[in-house]
Symmetry: C2
Subunit: 454 residues, 2 copies
């Protein structure tokens, strides 16, 4: 569906005909943080990640810059950088408004490129690369509008939002009319919810205490701290050892009490029967949800696990490759919690589709965050969901992990266990130039020494 520029995003993308809105360059930097040294981020499938970002700067002829990043966990970040660079010829010379506002053109230029799509289609590094550029374009538009991304999106009209979605593979579950109806229903009360958001923030939960590599003492101390800080839920990594899982969940329950929400995250380590038997063992600790119990590609497997482990909720999404997969997860009743990720899919536009799909099926969205920059980015989508899509924070929280925020120009802020609504213009991904320089790989000062020493 081609966008009619007059009812689309053109109005916030500058004058359609202006040469100044044309994209002049896409710059990508390989930035990596040596998090493996501290076992921050360690889970059953990722014993020692180096949180990394393929960091994108999109520049227009007018001299404006939009920032975004694609999160990875270390090796292969260079490949993600190369994938974004492969998009450059399709993007440079295009008008910014076309990239974000004209779905048919976006499809044609990136996710639908007739040769590049063989490498996916709509999945993996090539799809995340499109997302990196789309998100940078949205960041730039928000800066131009002088608004945080969540507010820019929340103030678009339902028709404008619908025009941003590629419905090609979604209409059997979500038609443009369905989407318009959802957004129309949420139109009432938008301003009130935006005010409420600014006053009270958005609910968060924390994974900070739960990394597999942490000692029992650190787990206990950080769990108690999380509760004291006002977080309503703590999430623990599980799946490497049943004995360890039982001991660690016991510690968490002892510290946190029976009524506190404790979730577990298996990071895909189990097959379907294993997931069911392991969760049967862990059920005595009443986990609130189990995250990624098996392959993110196994929709039917998640459905079978969900049926077997209820009332434990099933959550997934950080590795769900696109809206076609989320559509099926929802159609098949395969999950209780949709965990969108800011960087996994083709950017704000596809995440808008994911939010609409979740709303259509009445399933809450609890975004995946942590990593580096994910908290900063995905909070905008959750806040937009509250203000203008689902209209609710019931059963919803954004993940939070308290590291690497110091590298961002506008770090995510938590007060009393809630994300503070950003006021700074943009989408949250801008990093401090000094951090980009110091952690650029392999040449930055933080790596030159480390690599030399190893």
């Amino acid at each position: 569906m081609a966008l009619d520029r007059q009812e689309g995003i053109g109005s916030v993308a500058g004058e359609p005909g202006s040469e100044l809105g044309v994209i002049e360059d896409v710059e990508v930097v390989d930035v990596r943080f040596p998090t493996s040294a501290e076992l921050d981020g360690s889970d059953a499938m990722n014993p020692s990640p180096d949180y990394s970002a393929a960091y994108v700067r999109l520049r227009t002829r007018a001299g404006e810059t939009g920032y975004s990043l694609v999160f990875t966990v270390g090796r292969g970040n260079d490949l993600q950088v190369a994938a974004i660079e492969a998009m450059r010829p399709l993007v440079v010379g295009q008008h910014l408004g076309d990239l974000v506002g004209d779905v048919s053109r976006l499809g044609l230029s990136m996710t639908g490129d007739s040769q590049l799509r063989w490498l996916g289609p709509n999945k993996g590094v090539i799809h995340m690369a499109a997302g990196g550029i789309v998100n940078a374009a949205w960041d730039l538009l928000a800066r131009r509008a002088g608004q945080p991304l969540w507010r820019l999106l929340s103030e678009l009209e339902p028709e404008q939002l619908v025009s941003l979605v590629d419905f090609r593979y979604l209409t059997d579950a979500l038609s443009p009319a369905d989407a318009l109806s959802i957004l129309g229903d949420a139109r009432a009360g938008r301003d009130q919810r935006a005010d409420e958001l600014v006053a009270e923030g958005y609910p968060a939960y924390t994974t900070t205490p739960g990394w597999l590599g942490y000692s029992d003492e650190k787990l206990a101390t950080l769990s108690a701290g999380a509760k004291a800080d006002g977080f309503p839920m703590v999430k623990l990594k599980v799946g490497a050892s049943r004995r360890d899982d039982l001991r660690r969940l016991g510690i968490a329950r002892e510290v946190l009490g029976e009524d506190y929400l404790v979730s577990v995250d298996a990071n895909q380590i189990w097959g379907v029967p294993d997931a069911i038997s392991e969760l049967d063992q862990l059920a005595v600790f009443s986990p609130y949800w189990v995250e990624e119990p098996t392959s993110p590609d196994d929709i039917a497997g998640h459905a079978a696990i969900r049926r077997a482990v209820a009332p434990i909720k099933v959550a997934t999404g950080e590795h769900v490759q696109n809206a076609v997969m989320f559509k099926q997860y929802l159609q098949q009743g395969a999950l209780d919690v949709v965990q969108i990720d800011a960087c996994r899919v083709a950017g704000v536009n596809e995440n808008l589709a994911n939010l609409l799909l979740a709303a259509r099926f009445g399933v809450p969205v609890c975004p995946h965050a942590g990593g580096v920059g994910l908290c900063e980015m995905v909070q905008h989508l959750a806040m937009f969901d509250f203000v203008a899509v689902s209209g609710s924070t019931e059963g919803r929280f954004v993940e939070h992990v308290d590291h690497l925020h110091e590298h961002f120009a506008a770090p995510a802020r938590i007060e009393r266990g809630r994300y503070v609504a950003p006021r700074e213009p943009g989408g949250g991904a801008e990093m401090l130039p000094a951090s980009v320089e110091a952690y650029s790989y392999p040449g930055g000062e933080k790596w030159a020494g480390a690599l030399g020493a190893s």
Copy 2:
């Protein structure tokens, strides 16, 4: 499941302890053919592909070389090359037998690498890269054994074959015991079927007449030629224009008669409701199967289409990213024909899982080929399926397209509409050194001129 070396593939991988079996280098070349100039390969989603290969040469310390390739359609082939190169540190220094024979080790070293898997997992360029290396290793093993790959695989014992499969995410549909039972049942008659294969070849069908970019006259002439050459089925590309589809199917039916098999291939252009309504229009020409009617990620969508368009069969697979997806396609009754691709998944090992899954559900495998090198490679898997897995060629054909075979050391051979069983040692992917050099991109002589002139 770790492989016990004694009952695994170790016996064909050389002495386990031998230093000579250690991988010394992986070399990857970006090879592209300017097929877009002739509209060979043009379909609804790929108007002008340049058939390309990330061409792999794997060398052991003993000086042996194994060849494989990952097929792409042009832009992005450099990214596929880079993805394979990203595997190099995980592979160089490893023993060849470990790569192909020890599932837990293979998983750990490539598809399961804790950092690289973030870029998939198990999908896209990173997954195809693992397949490129695994396939090169199998090519080398077959050369060492002096056998074509189909025969090497066919002569392995059921226990050895089962040990090659990663069952982690498959056991709810296919357990090791199920696999052993399938392979055990096929044990009887293997030699007889191998002899039959050598004598009579394996059924093929042709897509040569059906590219969208061909004129009506070329379609008619090539269709008549295909029938005269003994092919039992012709496949036409559809989906760009209903009028064109109706006219072209009419031409094919007129030339080929009512009883001849004519299939159609939409290359993912439709959404689910569109696919159903378009096929309702095309049904008058009695297509045998519809291939890729919608997104390859939409299992439920394929199931809905299949229910609606019967008796037209639903086929898909060239973009099905891994065995977890094929598992669900089969569990949900979403297809009639499994179209494995030699290069899409993590090589021979994962395609063995795909063949076993198809056999478990009684669904025929009709591999995707064409492109460059795919006929040469995938014929081995179909022949192995006949000899040692499904034991049947009923309702089975391998796709054939008659271009670019001249660049291969052992080109696929067709006689009377059937693939001739290869006798040359290896897996089929070895290209002529002169072709690799001339078509290497962008430096090869075939490109230096073309790029300079444009």
